[in-house]
């Protein structure tokens, strides 16, 4: 899923060759995100577009030879002058008289040519790692695709080329993106571009064109750039009278690897050089400010919001003058609104995480780690929104419940932290699902864990509180990766533990018979309840459960089942079984589970832990390939000696029927869920708000 879809798309045509462009947002100031060497397409700016489009009109385009643009043949079709004409054609096609240009590497030459042809068209230039070759020699030029050793091995060259551009550790996702874009083209195109006619062609011409550039210039250059030596950036800044910013320890792709920094620099630069429409901004004298919290609540599952509401209620009792604003998206924002909470208006601009997760799930299978990894663009966009929000309003505290985007990017950019920050989670590491058959997954999980460990060790001040929801014994005792600590040991060092937060008082559910009467079920027969969450992912599991229940009936003829299909599945899509009542929706679903003799559910943490607290027998199916459900939730339930875990792929109807009947005859001897989790968490937050 993309974090931001374009508002307009189209093609600009030069000599019959089509160049694909996309337009995002509106406003008097346009940013043209220049194409570059065609190993990438316009998506290389994915970390920039959602943020910049909040403030400006943004145009991206795929350079000919990649993406959705045409792939003509021969070096002449890939000349610098031709690319500059493509850029001008994109400006024409999008009705853009003039734009600030953001360019990388070869794109800087095209920007120079664009400005030479029409000086008024370029209002300003952000030059990232300028590829102005004649300005400084390259001590070790990169290997070209047509060199002997890469003959017939384009993929090999792409690996090599992508690798040298990214010297920073923990760059695996940017690397993978780059490889993916490069493989959209071929050796012929890259070879043609490599031998294309150059402009500016000589030292003198480069110097002359750079000096002639009249617009403001900002040059960003990584000190570890192996593609363009930083000296080129320095010289280019000198010749254009521009500002030169060295990014220490950074490679050739700062916009990909360090998006927050690059985004804020671009915005500041453009703001500085545009006369903004007269505006009124206010700064409130500190002693006049209300005590205010910004609460970022993860939209993955509804468990987070219910526990956050419980903690927030308890926090308000401790800090009565508190105002809480929530940065949250559906379905979480709906629950918050129904509870009378204030949703920050910028929430409407959050890129959808829920839609991303749904797009990733199939057949009771969600590879949660890879899905999370592919959410990088959404996480960056949503961090940038957060960054804007906390600079518009002063908050006394930021609370993030599994606010992974806030946590990651604050540690990557610790200077962006301007308020106390508390982080809550019930999962403390990435554990591979299938290390034997998928070594890449194991390697990536370890790399992610290593990065988080480094982050927290190096910048302990970023988080003022780290709370693990549950007891440490509820954590799996697995290794975070080769040479890394074990989950439990590391978590004990980093987090403070608060008891699991159940959003109700378990004492109220100790008498299932009374509850059954209140809900109209009556007593004296085995009652089974099946519910698999609100998405269509659960369909396969419901079908399996229906078949199993038919078998249960042969042994327990008076047994009944309530099957809750959720809003995405119509009851008619499921088979009819004697004694089974299918319902699309029931209010307060949990009460129905809490009076069942046996519940059949998915492996989500909230529902299963509510069953533990209510002491009901249950059979649960963790989503296949979901590291959190397979490792963290499963281990936690084992700790409580609760639930019968089954794997969907290995379960036939008779297996499930047997498990259901056995569970119905069992007497739960669960470990008790400690009480007071919400109060304990609220106490910790309150210490950050008042003395």
């Amino acid at each position: 899923m993309r974090a931001r879809e374009p508002d307009d798309t189209g093609y600009a045509v030069v000599d019959g060759v089509r160049t694909y462009y996309e337009v995002f947002g509106t406003g008097p100031t346009t940013l043209l995100m220049m194409g570059t060497f065609p190993v990438v397409d316009g998506r290389q700016w994915k970390g920039q577009v959602p943020y910049l489009a909040r403030h400006f009109r943004v145009v991206t385009w795929d350079p000919r030879g990649n993406g959705a643009s045409d792939r003509p043949t021969g070096p002449d079709a890939y000349a610098d002058e031709v690319y500059a004409r493509d850029a001008a054609a994109v400006l024409d096609a999008t009705g853009t008289d003039a734009a600030f240009v953001v360019a990388l590497c070869s794109g800087i030459k095209w920007s120079l040519l664009l400005a030479t042809a029409g000086p008024k068209r370029v209002r300003g230039l952000v030059a990232i790692a300028p590829g102005v070759h004649p300005l400084a020699p390259h001590p070790h030029p990169l290997q070209t695709v047509d060199q002997q050793q890469w003959c017939g091995d384009f993929a090999g060259w792409v690996d090599y080329h992508s690798d040298v551009l990214l010297p920073e550790p923990h760059s695996s996702k940017v690397f993978e993106d780059l490889v993916g874009w490069s493989l959209q083209t071929d050796a012929e195109v890259i070879g043609a571009r490599t031998h294309a006619p150059l402009r500016p062609a000589t030292d003198d011409e480069t110097i002359e064109m750079s000096r002639a550039l009249t617009c403001p210039v900002l040059v960003l250059h990584g000190s570890e750039d192996t593609c363009q030596p930083p000296e080129r950036g320095r010289r280019f800044a000198e010749l254009t009278g521009g500002q030169f910013v060295v990014l220490d320890g950074v490679g050739h792709l700062p916009h990909g690897r360090h998006p927050v920094l690059v985004n804020t620099l671009i915005r500041e630069f453009v703001d500085m050089h545009t006369t903004r429409s007269p505006q009124r901004s206010a700064w409130l004298f500190a002693r006049e400010r209300k005590r205010r919290v910004l609460w970022v609540c993860s939209p993955i599952g509804l468990g987070h919001v219910l526990r956050d509401l419980a903690i927030a209620r308890s926090l308000r009792e401790r800090v009565p003058d508190l105002e809480i604003e929530w940065l949250a998206q559906p379905p979480v924002s709906g629950v918050l609104r129904a509870n009378g909470e204030i949703i920050h208006p910028a929430s409407a601009e959050l890129a959808s995480e829920s839609a991303h997760w749904e797009s990733e799930a199939t057949h009771h299978d969600l590879h949660a780690f890879y899905a999370f990894r592919r959410m990088d663009e959404i996480l960056c966009a949503n961090y940038m929104l957060f960054d804007d929000v906390v600079r518009e309003t002063p908050y006394d505290l930021w609370v993030g419940d599994e606010s992974w985007e806030v946590d990651h990017f604050l540690h990557e950019n610790p200077e962006r932290k301007i308020a106390p920050y508390a982080f809550l989670t019930d999962v403390t590491g990435f554990l591979p699902i299938d290390p034997d058959n998928d070594p890449r997954e194991a390697e990536l999980c370890a790399d992610y864990n290593a990065e988080v460990i480094e982050h927290l060790d190096r910048f302990p001040y970023v988080r003022d509180r780290s709370m693990f929801i549950g007891d440490f014994a509820e954590l799996p005792d697995a290794s975070l990766g080769p040479g890394l600590p074990r989950v439990r040991e590391w978590s004990e060092r980093i987090y403070s533990s608060v008891p699991y937060v159940v959003p109700f008082d378990p004492a109220a559910y100790r008498r299932p018979a009374a509850l059954r009467c209140r809900l109209g079920y009556g007593t004296g027969y085995p009652l089974y309840v099946a519910a698999v969450g609100g998405t269509s992912v659960g369909r396969d599991l419901l079908e399996l459960t229906a078949e199993a229940f038919a078998l249960v009936r042969t042994e327990q003829p008076d047994a009944r089942m309530v099957m809750v299909t959720g809003p995405r599945l119509h009851v008619d899509e499921l088979p009819d079984v004697e004694g089974m009542d299918k319902r699309g929706y029931v209010p307060d679903l949990f009460e129905h589970l809490a009076c069942a003799d046996v519940a059949v559910v998915q492996g989500g943490l909230s529902t299963t832990m509510e069953l533990v607290a209510a002491r009901r027998p249950f059979v649960y199916f963790p989503l296949a390939n979901h590291w959190e459900q397979q490792h963290f939730v499963a281990h936690r339930l084992d700790h409580y000696r609760a639930g019968v875990r089954m794997q969907y792929a290995a379960t036939r109807p008779p297996d499930l029927a047997a498990a259901m009947v056995a569970a119905q005859r069992s007497r739960p001897a669960y470990r008790t869920v400690r009480r007071g989790g919400a109060a304990k968490a609220a106490h910790q937050l309150a210490t950050l708000l008042r003395r």
Partner: protein
Amino acid sequence: MLRSAGARGTVGPVRAREPDRSGYAVRSGVRLYYEVFGAGPVTVLLLPTWAIVHSRTWKLQVPYLARHFRVVTFDPRGNGRSDRPSDPDDYADAELVADALAVLDETGTDRAVCIGLSMGGRVLLQLAAARPERVAGAVFVAPALRIDLGLPVPARWVHPFEEELDSSEGWAKYNVHHWRRDLGDFAEFFFRELFAEPHSTKQVDDAVGWALQTDPETLAATHRAPFLGDGSGRSEPTVSDLAARVRCPALVIHGSVDRIVDHRTGLALAEALGCPVEVFDGGGHCVHARHPVRFNLLVRQFGEAVAGARA
């Protein structure tokens, strides 16, 4: 209420930043004391305001701004180390504009980003309109302009200035006879009105100390001087005429609870100039002294934007 320490609160011997150069600009025999701090291509001129205080009112700005710009300050005629002519006409707005130009000349400053506070904002508007080539950018802080906004008459104009009054309570202290009897008492009252924010005792003490460095007759002369919008009926441009002649980037800064110049005046000026306005919610008349960090950052940002736009 804490009693002001008056003169005891005046400047100690140690300043956070000493000037790199100081001297006098002389106009028609009147000497104006200036100070220059730091170096660099961009100069910030911190204009004087009403002569009840002098250039030390900028003491919380100078050390920081001088790290980033060349900074010039000068004492107004009537206070500090500048001369104190006695004729009210010597304090007319035109003279104050000419003083600023004289200091720019004397310090070798072609152009400057100028910051005008209160009365200094009124001077700055006339300076920027008359000599746009000398003003690279203009920051108006709580500008004391008379714009017809239907606002109530400022309290300080309610009581007759020249007449002996029965009362010396409140704004009745704004009276030449009272000044002659007890200038410190007036000053203390006046600066408590200026600093509307709680916990402003040091700011009040400082300002009272500076007020006591001038004298009642000089201050009375400044009061009697003609100024833009004084209602004397002579022909002069309006604020919008002047605003239309300003060509440089501008910024207005105004405290929302300013009891001396209603902050709607600042909003109106910003609208006339078509420039941004930064409101200090809960801020009084002298936000530069009471909220120096926010103020300094804004000025630096503005100065850099102006410098960047010229580069």
